[in-house]
Each structure stands twice: as C-alpha cells, then as structure tokens.
C-alpha cells in the first residue's frame, strides 16, 4: 500500500511532505516507548505513536522507518517538523 493512501485513509495532515509519499509501506507498528520502536520497527515500516518529541523521530530514522504517524491532540514543535528530513514522512 502506498504511504499516500495510508495518509488518505487516516485523514492525516502531512507535516513534512516529500517524495516518500509515493513509496510502499510494508507494515506498521504502534508504540509509545522508544525502546519498543527500536526493537520492532523495521525498514519501510510506518511507526504509529502518540509521542511528538524529536527523540521519537530520531529513533524512527535510526531504524529506517518510512514515516511516523503522530496521533493525539499534541502537535509537534516546529523544530521537530524541521528535523523530519528527506528520509522520513510525518
């Protein structure tokens, strides 16, 4: 499934748009802890989390997650969004 379709289904706001939206997502993993993310998120996985801090994005990037779907009322700071670089979609 294309990441753009996942975004449509979730009616998600794209915080950091780049060409990864056309990529296929192989799976997803929901977690609220950085350690869980490190152990279970694989390349081309969409990380689903309610955490919005920069460390979550760093951990997802380290594990080559294709993107992060951030749930909940909390909005990430601009600095977090700026750190979502060309390797990651939020």
């Amino acid at each position: 499934m294309k990441l753009s379709l996942v975004q449509e289904i979730l009616e998600a706001e794209v915080l950091c748009e780049n060409d990864l939206l056309i990529k296929d997502v192989r799976g997803s993993f929901a977690c609220g802890l950085t350690s869980e993310m490190l152990l279970y998120v694989n390349p081309e996985t969409l990380d689903i989390t309610s955490l919005t801090n920069i460390h979550v994005i760093h951990a997802a990037q380290v594990m080559d997650a294709i993107g992060s779907a951030l749930f909940g009322d909390k909005k990430p700071y601009k600095s977090v969004i700026m750190n979502m670089d060309s390797t990651h979609v939020g």
């Binding site: 350690s35 869980e36 490190l38 460390h55 979550v56 760093h58 990037q61 594990m63």
Partner: protein, 156 residues
C-alpha cells in the same frame, strides 16, 4: 556481573562524549555509526543490532550517567560498543536487566524513555554483554556483536 576486559584488537575506533541529559546524542551517534557500518558493507542485521545497542547505551548514560564516553571498536569479526560513565551506579545489575525495571523519573518517561527496556534490549542484541558498576562511582558496559556474513539470514 563482573567485567573481564574483553580481548579485542580494534581496527577502527570511534569515540563520542555523552553529557548529562543530552538526549540528542543517542540518535545522532546511532545514525553516524550506522552510516559508517553501511559504508563498510556490513549485514543489515548486524547494523540494526549495533544501532539499537548504541542508542540504548548512550541514552542510559544521558539519563543516569552524569557524564560519560561511548566508544565503538570495529574489527573484522565483531563490533564492541562500550560506555563508561561517572553516574550513580547500579546497585543490583540482575534486577536492572529485567524487562520493565526502571528508576527513571516521570519526566524521562513522558519523553518515551525510561521504560526499563534499555539493558534488556542491549542484551537481546548482543552476543556478549558485560556490565561493571560501583554505586557512587559509575558504570562500564561492554556489548559485543559478532559480524554476520552477508548471505546469512536475519535473526532479529
């Protein structure tokens, strides 16, 4: 658990200081070393294990260690990740190794850390793990990962 210093002849040595509450360093160092290991053409399974160990070990130093060093030694057979800190030390290493055991503050947990999975994750990803800790003095951790050949199947 005692440390007998691992017999190791490094061919590449990387070294990074870690300051107290520097939560950025874990992601930065893990990313840098991951790129280095990719350039060396290592198996992605080996790279993933080392990246997890670095992230967790560096985060432990940032949370509990006051100040410390992270060193990575790479040779043709294995990669050794070593942290050395001047923190409060671990009174009961066996207890600290248990999944879910944590002494991290509420503030740390709110950031998604301090879940008590750090040492457990390091253990899961290591072929060899040694921890030496003295209360009030600090902790030394050594985690070794055997380098997997490219044609071997992933096991993590």
């Amino acid at each position: 658990m005692s440390v007998d210093n691992l017999q190791f002849t490094p061919q590449i040595k990387l070294e990074f200081p870690i300051n107290e509450k520097d939560f950025f360093v874990a992601g930065e160092v893990a990313s840098k070393v991951k790129k280095t290991l990719q350039q060396l053409g290592l198996h992605q399974d080996t790279i993933k294990k080392v990246a997890i160990i670095i992230y967790e070990a560096a985060m432990n130093v940032a949370i509990h260690g006051n100040h410390g060093m992270l060193r990575i030694y790479i040779d043709p057979e294995s990669i050794l990740v070593e942290t050395d800190d001047q923190g409060d030390g671990i009174p009961d290493i066996e207890l600290a190794m248990q999944e879910g055991y944590s002494t991290a503050s509420h503030e740390i947990r709110e950031m998604g850390f301090g879940a008590g999975m750090g040492l457990y994750n390091i253990d899961q990803c290591s072929n060899e793990l040694h921890i030496d800790s003295k209360v009030g003095i600090g902790t030394k951790l050594q985690a070794r990962v055997q380098i997997k050949k490219k044609d071997q199947t992933p096991d993590l």
